[in-house]
């Protein structure tokens, strides 16, 4: 506690540090909310300037951007079906349908509160248990466990958002197939690139996600407008009531735990945390068929989990020097620019720096609560703009976002192709969520399966020595069998497509 107070005093006693804190907070929220131009863009832009900052200020700036950036992407996901970053994609599954029902205020309010709660819980855990948790997670989670986690995630995702279980599997399978394009993750052999150097680098997920979510949504609304069936969403500024939140306490706690543990694992991070949080909410719900139609629990689960991953991602970074994602990898660069090495020695040699970072993340999450409330009361009014004026803005933002990733015109083409494909797939009852999850998890899954196979010398019995991996694989198989059981033996449909 004394260290936390000391870190807080160091943070707020210096005007420069306070300005950097506020700048990081607002910058992260802004960049997080603009599709394509994510918090990573901001991190990359400011990286060269951090050399002239004090080391504690530079590291603190990135940790604040991480917290506010992950939250920022939820706003556009809810209002326009444009996730600011992949970790906000599951927020759009229920957040956007809530907007269409005139419940945008509730969805954004829930995202604000849950992002702050998830982030705060994660920051507190991070402060109290960094070295112990980091050592456990790194030793207990190897490639077999990560592959098993991916398998379980895919099995659950196949049951979300499609008209039939077969279409759920087809959606996930299509995502996995898109992820195969490029180089194979073991030996770097070319696959499905047809001699194109562009395709050799694989199909980037940012243009694909923008296409499947934003462009397909614009096309669907355009079709409704052309057919005369378009209904403008109602603007509502109601925050969720305390009673509504209290009903979701288990979902919040569950997502906190999922987000925290997913955040610790290197390479998994906030994206899988958000998908897992959402999937588990569906799996444990008594009314799973209502997910994807505007369930507050969907928004709550996804946003709690992705923000809970932010504090957790600092644990392997600070304790072991292992980055969990792109932004934490940039933080390693900041450490190196100041001739420092993150790892166990940081806790001994730069204790002040560590506690300034911890305090900054704690207060960044509290600030999200206050700023987010203001944002809810203002940003929701964007929905008053007629959709046919908003649609070109969305298309142009998505175009710039897709191009900004790698400065390639082909990425824009890929985005619009994905958008048209998404339009037809959504019309035919396929799940965009499944495709995106398959796309994101495909590479991670294949890479870890290959490493696990090599590690266990291709011996199936070798898996039995990895209880966590076996447990996750069994859960995945049970999830699949449960879907199949319902399909074959259910006497009555639990719902109809027209529900």
């Amino acid at each position: 506690m004394a260290e936390f107070i000391q870190g807080t005093m160091t943070l707020f006693s210096d005007l420069t540090s306070v300005m950097i804190f506020v700048g990081g907070l607002l910058g992260g929220m802004l960049f997080g909310a603009i599709p394509g131009v994510s918090m990573l863009t901001l991190g990359a832009i400011i990286l060269p300037f951090t050399g002239s900052m004090a080391p504690a200020d530079a590291i603190m700036l990135y940790s604040v951007i991480y917290c506010s950036g992950v939250f920022g992407g939820a706003i556009t996901a809810i209002l326009f079906n444009i996730p600011g970053a992949p970790e906000n994609a599951p927020t759009a599954f229920d957040g956007y349908p809530m907007t269409q029902k005139g419940l945008a205020g509730k969805a954004v309010g829930a995202a604000v509160l849950c992002s702050a709660l998830g982030g705060l819980a994660s920051a507190i855990l991070m402060m109290s248990a960094t070295p112990i948790i980091a050592n456990w997670a790194i030793s207990a989670f190897g490639p077999p466990e990560i592959f098993a986690l991916v398998f379980f995630g895919i099995a659950v995702a196949s049951s979300v958002g499609s008209a039939t279980i077969w279409k759920g599997w087809l959606s996930v399978g299509l995502g996995l197939m898109i992820a195969m394009v490029g180089l194979d993750p073991v030996a770097g052999l070319e696959r499905y690139n047809f001699g194109s150097t562009y395709l050799m680098a694989g199909i980037h997920f940012i243009p694909t996600i923008l296409g499947f979510f934003a462009v397909s949504e614009v096309l669907i609304q355009a079709e409704k407008r052309a057919a005369g069936t378009y209904k403008a969403p109602k603007v509502n500024l109601d925050f969720p009531s305390f009673g509504e939140f209290w009903k979701l306490k288990i979902a919040v706690l569950r997502s906190m735990v999922i987000g925290f543990f997913a955040g610790i694992l290197p390479g998994i991070g906030a994206t899988l945390a958000a998908f897992m949080g959402y999937n588990e909410a569906v799996r444990w719900s008594k009314t799973p068929h209502l997910f994807g139609k505007g369930q507050l629990e969907g928004v709550v689960s996804s946003e709690t989990a992705n923000n809970a991953a932010t504090g957790a991602a600092m644990i392997p970074l600070l304790a072991l020097g292992l980055p969990g994602g792109a932004l934490t990898a940039m933080m390693i660069g900041v450490f190196q620019m100041h001739n420092m090495e993150p790892g166990p020695l940081v806790f001994m040699n730069s204790k002040d720096l560590v506690w300034v970072v911890f305090s900054a993340m704690f207060f960044a999450n509290i600030s999200i609560l206050l700023l987010g409330w203001l944002q809810t009361k203002t940003v929701v009014h964007l929905l008053r703009i007629p959709f046919h004026f908003l649609a070109p803005v969305i298309l142009l933002l998505a175009t710039i976002g897709a191009y900004a990733v790698r400065s390639l015109g082909t990425d824009i083409l890929i985005m619009f192709a994905a958008g048209i494909m998404g339009f037809f797939l959504r019309r035919s009852g396929y799940s965009i969520a499944g495709i995106v999850l398959g796309l994101i998890l495909g590479k991670i899954g294949e890479q870890n399966f290959a490493q696990a196979s090599q590690m266990l010398h291709y011996d199936i019995m070798g898996w039995t020595d990895r209880p966590i991996a076996v447990g996750l694989l069994i859960f995945g198989v049970i999830t699949f069998l449960a879907q199949f059981y319902r399909l074959v033996f259910a006497k009555k449909p639990s719902f109809s497509i027209d529900d």
Binding site: S162, T164, K167, G409, R427, A450, I497
Partner: protein, 175 residues
């Protein structure tokens, strides 16, 4: 047994042809890797077989399911299935952004974007000239200034002489 509509036949044909071609193409990279027994084609083949089986399952369900029986997984249901044809106006709305994407690197963002915005607004039903021009220009100016001047995002200036010069001139003015 139910009769499938033409849209469904197209859908199933797509999946079977797609998986067939994808599987055939795996032989292009089916080479041995010293350190990895399953090779570069192992994972893709498993995924393709799963996709094929899922498509087969969907076909059988569509053929043998009763009209009212929609026995799906309890967690599905967002999606609605529609197989009605797309009208010519909708095709134009879809293909306009594709044309924009095809020419953006050659003609540049700064020339092509205002034309694209006007065309898109027109196709989606806006016919009032003042609104058509005003809204298109407003969106273009606000987003271009935001991204070019404040966020330093490099947007395509074009390759064709004249178009490139114009694009570079705008960037110079803004920055």
């Amino acid at each position: 047994m139910r009769k499938l509509v033409p849209g469904q036949w197209i859908e199933f044909s797509f999946w079977f042809v797609f998986t067939g071609i994808a599987f055939a193409l795996t032989f292009d990279f089916d080479r041995e890797i010293d350190m990895y027994r399953y090779g570069a084609a192992g994972w893709p083949r498993v995924v393709i077989v799963i996709v094929f089986l899922a498509a087969l399952g969907q076909l059988l369900q569509s053929l043998f399911q009763k009209e009212t029986d929609t026995s799906q997984s309890s967690a599905s249901a967002i999606a609605e299935e529609r197989h009605d044809p797309i009208g010519p106006q909708m095709w134009l709305i879809m293909l306009t952004p594709v044309a924009y994407a095809l020419f953006i690197e050659e003609l540049g963002y700064y020339v092509l974007t205002p034309i694209f915005l006007i065309a898109y607004l027109y196709l989606t039903g806006e016919r009032r000239l003042k609104w058509l021009l005003g809204v298109s220009l407003g969106i273009f100016l606000v987003l271009t200034i935001l991204f070019t001047k404040f966020l330093y995002v490099g947007l395509p200036t074009g390759n064709v002489p004249g178009f490139y010069d114009f694009g570079s001139w705008i960037v110079q003015i803004l920055q």
